[in-house]
Assembly symmetry: C2
């Protein structure tokens, strides 16, 4: 991937030296897995009738593949078409001394490839991986899919071989330039996704406690980052 | 937009009656503006060499247009190509009694159209709208772009005429089906984006206070939702 491909915030297309330091492409698998681990909703891009379509959907992954659901995909990917799956975490708003240097701190992964619709045991395994990634513990706790439900579910596997990661972090880039003398405040407003205490389904009988695996997974304020 | 286009979480492609109630397409402008207002990072889909590319970028909007930055766009949209801009807010993880009914509560907007690269005063105004949306108050506080910086900035305007909104909310859909008798806990883990106290650029002189417009915009825990 061209490290310059990604529009990266409020700043324009010119990449300054500082900007290049703030934003870095990463190629190691560990960086990819770290980004994938920190969320469970991706944006899936497909081409339909020559136009792009971008839809949010849930994903999971293992060492080799990203798994995602597809109603959109089941219709538009039947012929075997390239997709782009992007996972983005917004970590902060970067407030610089100049409008031009404003930006966003983020971690983002892009995965390109030809997804393959799974069937049989591979489909069940893909669904398990996806479920356990988004809602750990629920595969064993909830009722597993019936044959009919499985038939109504489309799970795609996308190789992680063609993937790139980009991370922007740190303070604004104009702290050592001429704008530093303007006397303006500059810095970062950190942003974080937090979970709130689980809300029981009103249809539940009174007094049914939140299972330990759910309570443990989503401690309020612990900063699990789904997007 | 086909209300069924959007893959919507852990559940499969079959749309049940409940699911249709949980997930609703909305066509009113107020719903569109509410989704756009709640964030400042979108996922921009473009077609490059026949393949989709999905990149996160910052946006702003007014009554008629969405404005976004483009380094990616400046290269791939020069010929005037349709884009899809998707803005998604993940509001909760829906834990059902069955794996099949698991899902995500979300608000999402999709905008399709032919973006137009702005120039002259329209470009400055587009950048102002974008800046004021993502970082309200900064257009007046920070140093405005120089002619050179403006020349290095590409701002696109995308009509809001072709847009759709989809919202999924509420408890899981299997509270009144046969699975309700399983005795399993079900509910929603709400998710929210929160801001943390601003972190000053280490390059700032000591004692420069956070300006009031920044402190006021990002009260910790106030739930401004950038994604």
């Amino acid at each position: 991937m061209d490290a310059g491909l990604m529009a990266s915030g409020l700043s324009g297309t010119e990449r300054t030296r500082h900007r290049r330091l703030r934003e870095q492409g990463r190629t190691d698998r560990a960086a990819l897995f770290a980004v994938l681990r920190a969320g469970f909703v991706c944006h899936l891009g497909v081409v339909v009738d020559g136009a792009p379509m971008v839809v949010p959907t849930v994903y999971g992954f293992d060492d080799s593949f990203l798994y995602f659901h597809g109603s959109v995909a089941s219709r538009s990917l039947a012929g075997g078409r390239t997709v782009c799956v992007t996972v983005t975490h917004v970590d902060g708003l970067v407030l610089a001394r100049s409008v031009f240097e404003h930006g966003v701190n983020y971690r983002s992964a892009m995965v390109y490839g030809l997804p393959r619709a799974l069937s049989g045991e591979a489909k069940v395994e893909g669904l398990r991986v996806l479920t356990e990634h988004a809602a750990p513990g629920q595969w064993d706790y909830a009722r597993r899919p019936s044959r009919k439900e499985l038939a109504a579910t489309v799970i795609f596997a996308l190789s992680l071989d063609e993937a790139s990661v980009k991370v922007a972090e740190g303070p604004p880039a104009d702290g050592d330039g001429p704008d530093a003398s303007l006397g303006l405040w500059a810095g970062v407003v950190p942003l974080e996704v937090v979970s709130r205490p689980p809300v029981p389904d009103p249809a539940l009988p009174d007094g049914l406690p939140v299972p330990a695996h759910i309570a443990a997974l989503f401690p309020p304020g612990a900063g699990r980052e789904p997007m």
